[in-house]
Amino acid sequence: MAEHEIHALTAAYALDALDEVEELEFEEHLRTCAQCRDELRDLLEAATALAYAVEVPAPPATLRSRILSQARVERATVVPFRRRRNWPAYVTGAAAAAAAAAAVGIGLWANSLSGSLDRERQVLDVLSDPAAESTRLDGADGRLVVTGSGRAALIVSQLDHAPAGKTYEVWVFRTPDDRPQPAGLFEAEQATDIVQLTEAVPEGATVAVTLEQDGGVDQPTGSLLFSAKT
């Protein structure tokens, strides 16, 4: 998209009126355009004012306790990959791109991604490659996205945060007989994680994830949590 066109998307972005690809592009643009960030701050205030124009019936009293107990459970849970209840299904399966957009959207508000701009750009390249193929994960909610050249990104939802001292590690098995190649680490800090793989994923390869000690290891020692075969 041309530079002058992307500036014009601020209002639509503030209203959540962009499609997934436009949204990713605009968020990428926001990182480098202070003018759009300033403008967005004002327009978001105005857009959010629309929320106040709605008639507001009281939510069911159970909603409050559901939210607070889920918060409590999440903090207490250290068992990796325990599926959470009461999650809408839309973050799974075919909604991978939307989940990616949502996750990047959180990034916009947060500073967790500072210093990882290049890495993130690479992930966006993979996700927005129209020729990329995506495969459903076996054992977790999410997808593996692989471009024609073998560059790959893992999108995974609803993983528990890695316990203290541990990290999730991604592995690429080029063939079932090859030694697995370490292909990246992540902590599952977001509702949806997007992980750029550091190893190419050739056709027929399998990508798997284990839980390992902080800093990662050369060969998997943890049990296989989930995988995808291309």
Binding site: T10, A12, L44, A51, V54, E55, L63, L68, P88, A110
Partner: protein, 216 residues
């Protein structure tokens, strides 16, 4: 927690269900988000008490389905719970962030529920079940924003309402309204800018209400 609250709840345990003391009521939304970032459950509860009702009303307006609206609100608050520690206050007010999280979740959901979007936007507005429960500051804000909306030119208001409450993307809006995409973009931009001006002009009138915000 204040001394008074500690004394009032000597056996307080995070495992037990009990009313959350309102000793955080004096804190700003931003301070509460910062506390949530440190895992303070009472701060999450306080934010829910301030914005839960508004969040649910917004989600219900977009989704028209109480169960889906609850899911959207719950997930938005869980996102808040997980990412509050990384919130950047210079990017937006905390209240704007929270309602944006809710809006985004609701729009994601409604775009997957195609059948709902064919329905007219009017007619399924949430009704206040119990007028006595209607909260004064919310009613005041509602009237203020509705008045500002009415002051917009029709095409601008239509674009804002279809996008924000209907969950339509700009391209879908262009199709639906039979207008070029550029026209839709201009209407959204002009509409939001004008809305902001109208609300800012009226800002001075709302000071008396600023310290009485609570939805419960």
């Amino acid at each position: 927690m204040s001394i008074a609250a500690v004394l009032a709840f000597p056996n307080r345990s995070s495992e037990r269900e009990m009313p959350v003391p309102r000793d955080l009521a004096h804190l700003s939304d931003e301070a509460l988000v910062a506390l949530v970032g440190h895992g303070e459950e009472v701060a999450l509860a306080e934010l829910y008490d301030r914005f839960g009702r508004l969040a649910y009303g917004l989600a219900l307006r977009i989704l028209r389905d109480p169960a889906l609206a609850e899911d959207a609100v719950q997930e938005a608050f869980m996102t808040l719970w997980r990412s509050a520690g990384r919130f950047l206050p210079e990017r937006a007010k905390a209240s704007t962030w929270i309602l944006t999280l809710v809006h985004r979740r609701a729009v994601d959901l409604v775009r997957r529920e195609e059948r709902r979007r064919g329905e007219p936007l009017e007619g399924t507005d949430g009704r206040t079940d119990d007028p006595a429960e209607d909260v004064v500051w919310l009613r005041f804000e509602r009237e203020r924003v509705q008045a500002a909306l009415r002051a917009l030119p029709d095409p601008q208001r239509e674009a804002l309402e279809l996008a924000y409450y209907g969950g339509f993307s700009q391209s879908e809006l262009a199709d639906r309204l039979g207008q070029p995409l550029g026209t839709i973009k201009s209407r959204m931009f002009a509409g939001l800018s004008r809305l902001r001006e109208l609300l800012t002009d009226a800002e001075s009138e709302r000071d008396p209400w600023q310290n009485t915000r609570s939805t419960h």
